[in-house]
């Protein structure tokens, strides 16, 4: 382990597949040293720490350390109880009974009870952008301090999976926060860390929460669940927007861990003494989005023509990200990953076919607007290359580079006159079809597609996994075949870790419990 070169390590990480074993597991054999502060050079800082409003990775990375939910993802991204001791689902799949753990303390010393859980859910239904999950709730019941019951109006086969979401997480807040406006809560949670000093745009510190009550029934940490032990005194997130500077900080030892590096920046750290570059999969999936309500991409054939010209290898190289090729909208090895039957719409590289489709669609040089932004260079670079590929097939392309806010607003609203854009989806692919639903409809601006509508209805109503898988295959096929979205790649997360940061486990976010500093 000690002399493992970075390249070997990457191979190790790759072969590990979807279920991440800890490549540093052997380090656990050593006795953990206590104390010290981990310096984490992150690319930006959170704007707020209200879990119910949190969608950005930088916010969530802090929130997952400070808060915990009833149910959360384990290392294999499956739902496991965290603050719940256990749960039961009724026969009809409409009633969910959570037994809460006793003696769990908030960082202010108060014990967590069902009243806190109830307040959390009630507030969530009011303020969170993710409140659609709770739209079908008939009622909440709290028969005693340690029981919480949710009753739905209709069968929802994946309700528990929806509750484990790491985006807008259902983190339990103290009841005192019930009526706090969105984004204005006091940051008090049951997590193993508590919030320390926070200077916006500069740094944020989380400190060991001495009042933390770990889950003793587990052997050790397991994704966001399990038994969490804090060895370090604190973790300091330094916000360093320049990739160059983050790499420099690792080289000089100013930081113990960093993230959000491009492939080329990561390569710079290869062979640097005391630093190990890693690429973590699964992380996100990159897609080209096609606007299906805006001419000329409202024509299915034209969208398909764009899909046919998309040369995935070049798009991946241009993005400068570490990425793997895969056709599916779920990750290999997970329940919803589709087989070869859905692979035929991926990486076609078929200029002749594209030209034939264009002819069929009566395409006559209408301008196709390719929009991207300057803030995310991988998006910009992917689009620049795609634009060249489209031109090669005789399409008239206008490249429109804006900033991310404009780009994102346009993606959401469908305005701004774009036809083709790109973005990455990080949690959706991980969590399954229910998390995909909003995106699939929203970004390509799909209206009146009965294939999708019917398949989704079937999906929610199927208690049996095989039926749900079948429904999902239909959904995915429609999205890819109809070229509402073009799958580009499974993108890894490039990070670097100091060799004396021990016990680190690869996960889609960086987790700091159970790590320790060997100094």
């Amino acid at each position: 382990m000690k002399h493992l070169t970075p390249r070997n390590l990457m191979l190790a990480a790759v072969s590990a597949g979807a279920l991440m074993t800890a490549p540093f597991a052997s380090a656990l054999a050593q006795e953990a040293k206590m104390g010290g502060t981990v310096i984490y050079a992150n690319n930006s800082g959170p704007g707020q720490l209200d879990p119910q409003m949190a969608a950005s990775l930088v916010e969530l990375e802090v929130i997952q350390h400070v808060f915990e939910a009833l149910v959360a993802m384990d290392a294999g991204y499956a739902a496991k109880p965290m603050l719940a001791e256990s749960w039961e689902v009724s026969e009809d799949g409409k009633t969910f009974t959570f037994k809460l753990r006793q003696g769990v303390k908030f960082s202010d010393g108060q014990e967590m009870t069902s009243a806190d859980v109830l307040a959390t859910f009630e507030r969530y239904a009011e303020v969170s952008p993710g409140k659609a999950t709770l739209a079908d709730v008939k009622e909440y019941r709290t028969p005693d301090d340690y029981t919480f019951i949710i009753e739905l109006n209709n069968l929802n086969a994946v309700f528990i999976d929806q509750l484990k979401t790491p985006v807008y997480p259902f983190s339990i807040l103290p009841a005192s926060q019930r009526d706090k406006p969105a984004r204005e809560i006091d940051v008090i949670g049951t997590g193993p860390f508590k919030l320390g000093e926070w200077v916006k745009d500069s740094h944020l510190i989380i400190e060991k929460n001495e009042a933390y009550v770990p889950r003793e029934d587990a052997e050790g940490p397991d994704g966001y669940v399990g038994k969490k032990t804090v060895n370090v005194d604190a973790v300091r997130y330094n916000f360093v927007p320049e990739g160059n500077s983050r790499v420099a900080a690792m080289q000089t030892g100013e930081a113990d861990i960093t993230t959000a590096l491009s492939k080329d920046l990561l390569a710079r750290l290869e062979g640097v003494e005391g630093v190990t570059p890693i690429t973590v999969f699964p992380y996100c999936q990159n897609y080209v989005i096609l606007h299906s309500s805006n001419a000329p991409t409202d024509k299915r054939e034209i969208r398909q023509a764009i899909r046919k010209v998309a040369g995935i290898e070049d798009l991946i190289i241009a993005s400068g990200e570490s990425a793997r090729k895969d056709h599916s909208m779920s990750y290999p090895g997970t329940d919803y990953h589709t087989g070869e039957e859905n692979a035929k719409w991926y990486d076609e590289n078929d200029i002749d076919g594209a030209m034939a489709l264009l002819k069929e669609a009566g395409y006559n040089g209408e301008e196709i607007v390719v929009q991207s932004n300057t803030n995310y260079s991988w998006m910009r670079d992917t689009m620049l290359v795609l634009a060249e590929q489209m031109k090669a097939a005789g399409m008239t392309v206008k490249v429109d580079i804006t900033d991310w806010t404009t780009n994102a607003s346009n993606l959401q609203s469908g305005g701004g006159g774009w036809n083709v854009s790109t973005t990455g989806f990080c949690s959706n692919a991980l969590l399954g079809p229910q998390q995909w639903q909003t995106m699939i409809y929203n970004f390509p601006h799909i209206e009146g597609n009965t294939v999708l509508d019917d398949a989704y209805t079937k999906f929610y109503a199927s208690m049996d996994l095989a039926d749900r898988q079948a429904a999902w295959q239909t959904i995915e096929a429609e999205v890819l075949e109809g070229a509402y979205m073009i799958k580009v790649s499974d993108r890894g997360s490039n990070r670097a870790i100091a060799d004396d940061l021990k016990g680190f486990r690869e996960f889609n976010m960086n987790i700091f419990w159970d790590v320790w500093l060997d100094r």
């Binding site: 160059n244 241009a318 490249v399 580079i401 804006t402």
Partner: protein
């Protein structure tokens, strides 16, 4: 040497007309040519302009042509400045970038001069407006040009034209001040009075008498604004609010190359040198113009 008695000296009271002089512009050109830094600066700028104009003939004419198999090629005979992360030829991009950067520099300097001339003239001519206009100019002057440019450019959206408008607006106050000062002096001179007495209209006086006489200081500041604008464009691009990619402006090439600054140093080295050289040439040229045209302007820039 400064024997300043000429005016009081009785013997010069009936000074005869000075001997005929060679035309003013010819004298100026000769003086400029004799000015070492002007020669050097003009030479540098000329070379850059010629290279920019000839870009389609020197290169294969496609600054955006990608060749992902050839990415990060170090400088070689085939790619004198190497290639970038798309395998685009940096030499071609820098040459085409010269067109954009020089155009932005030139257009914003001209626009700033025109705007400054209008505001400065208005201020000098309509004395009632003078106070208000100059107060506003002073306030704008207090803002660093780059901040103003960021604000204006952000509002106009990422386009070459917005960069030009933003930079021009940022430098209008400086120009206006210079023009106003020159115009105020000239306004009080006898021949302007004479023109006024002979019934010449305000426009005529402004265009025939005042404007030509403001040209010297204006021309000098135009060169300096040109240099600033090239630097400012690069800074705006670096912040991600310059001319949008894939425009190969020098600032953009650097901004796109900064992630590879260690491994592929050539991506950001050559456009950086190009910017420095262009700004250096323009500054040298401006120094020469200033020394020859308007020695009293020293302090302004």
């Amino acid at each position: 040497m400064t024997d300043q008695t000429a005016i009081q000296s009785p013997s010069t009271m009936t000074t005869t007309a000075p001997p005929p002089m060679p035309s003013r512009s010819r004298v100026l050109i000769r003086k400029l040519w004799r000015h070492r830094s002007f020669r050097l600066g003009a030479g540098i700028v000329l070379v850059i302009v010629v290279l920019a104009l000839l870009a389609p003939f020197i290169t294969d004419g496609s600054p955006n042509k990608m060749s992902l198999r050839d990415r990060f090629t170090p400088p070689s005979a085939e790619h004198p400045f190497g290639t970038d992360n798309f395998g685009r030829d940096i030499f071609t991009r820098v040459l085409y970038g010269a067109r954009i950067s020089l155009w932005i520099g030139f257009a914003s300097a001209m626009l700033a001069a025109a705007g400054g001339a209008i505001v400065g003239m208005a201020s000098a001519w309509f004395r009632r407006l003078d106070g208000i206009i100059m107060r506003i100019m002073d306030a704008l002057l207090a803002f660093p040009a780059i901040l103003l440019a960021i604000g204006i450019n952000a509002a106009l959206g990422p386009q070459v034209t917005s960069v030009i408008i933003a930079l021009a607006s940022a430098y209008v106050p400086r120009m206006a001040r210079i023009v106003r000062a020159a115009a105020l002096v000239i306004r009080e001179l006898d021949y302007v009075d004479a023109a006024r007495v002979s019934g010449a209209g305000a426009t005529r006086i402004i265009f025939r008498h005042i404007l030509p006489n403001c040209m010297a200081p204006l021309l000098v500041s135009v060169t300096f604004v040109f240099a600033y604008a090239i630097l400012a464009e690069a800074a705006l691009s670096f912040l991600g609010i310059g001319p949008p990619p894939p425009h190969p402006s020098w600032g953009n090439i650097i901004a796109e190359g900064r992630d590879y600054s260690v491994e592929a140093w050539w991506i950001m080295l050559f456009p950086g040198l190009a910017i420095s050289l262009a700004a250096l040439g323009t500054n040298l040229l401006g120094d020469g113009l200033r020394d020859v045209l308007d020695p009293r302007l020293k302090m302004e820039q």
